[in-house]
Structures are given as C-alpha cells and as structure tokens.
Symmetry: none
DNA sequence: GATAGGATTAACAATTCCTTAACGTATAAG
DNA sequence: CTTATACGTTAAGGAATTGTTAATCCTATC
C-alpha cells in the first residue's frame, strides 16, 4: 500500500472505528491505539507520517503524548493533529502549546476529518523535508562536539548551547527573547550584540549558510 | 411568478448581483440581503423556500443566521445552503453544525449554483460538499516562511505580519483601521500610504491575484 | 594570583527595512 | 466635464536592526 501512514489515537472505540474506516477508504495506512503510552510504543516501529491524538485519554493524554513525540528524534517532522471536544477548556490548549499542527473539534464528521488530513499531509510535502542523509551537521551533545563533513569542532559552551537550541528545531525561527531565556536564562541581562557575536562565531566555524537572520525576529538554523 | 422563492444573502454586492441574475433567469423568485439580520427580517414575511447564506458576513454571519432560521417555527422545512470561501477554516462548520443542507464552495460558477439549487429544491437532497482545502499559499509561522507553489519566501517582519493577518481569515475584508491596530498597534501613527506600500510588496512577491482591494473599506486575502 | 580561553561589551559599519512624499491613476460625485 | 476621493507606484531618506572588530572583563585551572 502506498498511502501515508496514520496513527489514530483515541480511547473511544466507536470513534476510532468510524474514522479508521474512512481513512482506510481514502487509501491511507492506519494503525490505532487507545492511549498515549500505547501510541508511543507503536509509533517507534510504525513511523507514522501523521498522528491524530485525542486530547482526553486515560493513562497518557494527548498533550503529553504530543510533547513526547516532539521531543523524540525518531519522530522528527511527524505531523500531529489533536482532537478536542467542543467546549473543552481551550485555555490549557492555547496556553500550553505542545506543538500540534492542527486542532480538530469533536464531534467530527468523517468527511471533514479526511479533508483535513489531506490538507495536513499535503502541506507537509510542500515544506522542505530534509532527508537524514542530507544532514550536513551532526551534534554530539555528550561530547560538546559538532561534526561537519567529517571535521570535528569543539565548541565553547555558549556557542554550543546556542547552536544546540537552533539545531533542535531546524528551520524554525527563535526570537532573540527565546534565545536569551534558553541560553542565558531569564534573569541574566546581556548586551544587545552578545547573541550576534556568538552567531558570528558559529558562522565562521560552520558556514554562514546554516544560520539565517530574520530581521526584527531572530535566527534559525538550516542544514 | 411560479418559481420557488430564494433568499440570497451575501455582503459582496457583485456576487449577489451575479447570482441573482442567474437565478432569475432560471425562473426563480429572488430577494437579497447583505447580512444575516436583514435576512431574518425579510425571511419572516417573504417565506423563502431556499436560503443561500454566505458564511462570512458582517453584523450576523451565516452560521448564526442558519441557526436562527432553524430555530424559528416560521421557517420549518426551509432549505439552507451555505456559501463557504475556498480554504476557509471550516472547523467551525465541522464542530458546530448549524444544520445547513448543503455547502457550496466559493467562488461559485453561476451554472454550478443553479444546478445545485435545482437539485436542492427538487429533491431536498443533502449533497454535502466539504470544500477541498485547495490552498495555493501556505504560511509557516514557526519558520517565518511563506510557501507558494514550492517556492519559499522569507518575508520581512511587517510584510509577514500583514499577510498573516489577512491570511487568518481568507475572504474577509480587513479595514485599514483593523490592519493598523493589528500590525502597527493602536498608538503608532503612520502615514496613509504605508499599508499600500506593504500590500504592493506582497502582491509583487506572491501575486496580486491574492490581494483584493475593497475601495473605501480595506483589503482581503484570497487563495 | 597568573594565565588562557571564553564571554561580553562598546563603538562603529553595513545592511535591511520602513516610511514618507510626490505624483499617477481610477472611480465616484457634483 | 470638473472635482474629489481613494488607492497605486516609485524612489529616496532615515530609522532600526544586525554585522564586525577589537578591547576588556570573567572564570576556571594550575
């Protein structure tokens, strides 16, 4: 089968069956789980392209699962859609963004879900997907080591942490605020040009093509 | 006149005229309204057989109007068709089904509308057509990236924010006031032509077909 | 407490972006 | 037909942000 792989996670058996049926009918590969823990187990071998997570689940809820998936390097680039019950307290969802790509309100009509899934998977393909073999820079966190084209670099602490942060989500922009609070901590106050200088050193050592400036916003790393 | 009575509700005058002309030509009776409130007033005396409602409207939107009609005993059995902009976020439609009989995607060709109307009046069929999210432009907020036909654009901050605003509700008009307070903030005062210049740059980069001027009102984005 | 490498700062350069002003064009109103 | 009004276009200046460099300040280590 050629369809993309979907992992459907919900504890309500009826809903799972209904949605699974409709997704299968569209030609997708589907596997299901009834809670987050199970989902993670399946995901590690199944390598889904898209995970649909119910927010409310026993054992491990959708938000936790989403977080766990995002943190795992095995699921880099996986698309995550959350199912949220209508009228559910949106504040936690809004306030604590675990990094889902879409939120779908329950009850959801099969047609709606399918077209939403299509859109998500299509969107995924329009973005640049960096295949693993194209990763030009590799980080070894234990050894504070960066490897580019076989050459090893021993970066100083701050430079490494800055790189590490940007590298954690290639392509995503980190604002100066983000960077400051992550690398320096919220209480520390450093001058305006400190980040720039570190960026400069990274560019010098690893090549400026990897560090993109978004003026007025921040920086991002790209392979 | 013997044709069935249609109430056509849309705030865009051009569309109303075009569709009205075509429906009249088919022998239907047509009355029009430019918002939901007006529509309800007319409906109570006009007793339409079919109401065609634009989802996005000022004063009272299509969903609210649909709900109100359904609740009213005076309009028992009225057929309701919703006009939804292509690419519009239909999560509200999915999550909150106000009970429309059909969803028709804008822009709609007169011929298509007419045949749809015929089908609805003849059979009262429910041929729900969830618009396929056929989006030509995708925004990635994390990556500060705009993707059109596979090409990526790194827009400057203000341009990105302006696009982001218009894009948030495709098809809806944002007044200059709206735009100013959202993108520039309420205290900031900028000249009259500032918005135009930014719109121009967006048109230059992404194609002018996506940015529609409503003279005397503002701008809107469309896919 | 001397030393060395790293981190930060300050001053200035470079760049990009935003805004404006002036003029052009279109459309509606008188 | 003239006038008024709103929007479009262009180029240029200035504002804001970032890049660069070198000197200075820290901090861990010997």
């Amino acid at each position: 089968m050629s369809g993309e792989k979907i992992l459907l996670v919900d504890d309500e058996q009826d809903i799972v069956e209904l949605l699974e049926y409709n997704l299968l009918k569209e030609g997708y590969q589907v596997r299901t789980a009834s809670n987050g823990k199970e989902a993670l187990k399946i995901a590690s071998s199944y390598k889904p392209d898209l995970v649909i997570l119910d927010v409310m689940m026993p054992v491990m809820d959708g938000m936790q699962t989403c977080e766990a998936l995002r943190k795992s390097p095995n699921h880099n680039g996986v698309i995550i859609a959350m199912l949220t019950a209508r009228g559910e307290d949106y504040s936690q969802i809004a306030g604590f963004d675990a990094g889902a790509d879409d939120y779908i309100t329950k009850p959801v009509k099969p047609k709606v879900l399918v077209s939403r899934v299509k859109a998500l998977l299509r969107r995924g393909t329009t973005e640049i997907d960096i295949p693993d073999e194209n990763v030009s820079i590799v980080i070894n966190r234990d050894k504070y080591l960066v490897i580019k084209e076989g050459n090893e670099f021993n970066l100083p602490k701050k430079e490494f942490e800055l790189l590490n942060l940007l590298y954690s989500q290639p392509g995503s922009v980190f604002t100066r605020q983000n960077i400051l609070s992550s690398v320096w901590g919220d209480e520390v106050v450093v001058g305006d040009r400190t980040i720039d200088v570190h960026i400069r050193k990274l560019r010098e050592k690893l090549g400026s093509e990897h560090f993109v400036t978004i003026k007025g916003v921040g920086y991002k790393f790209q392979h």
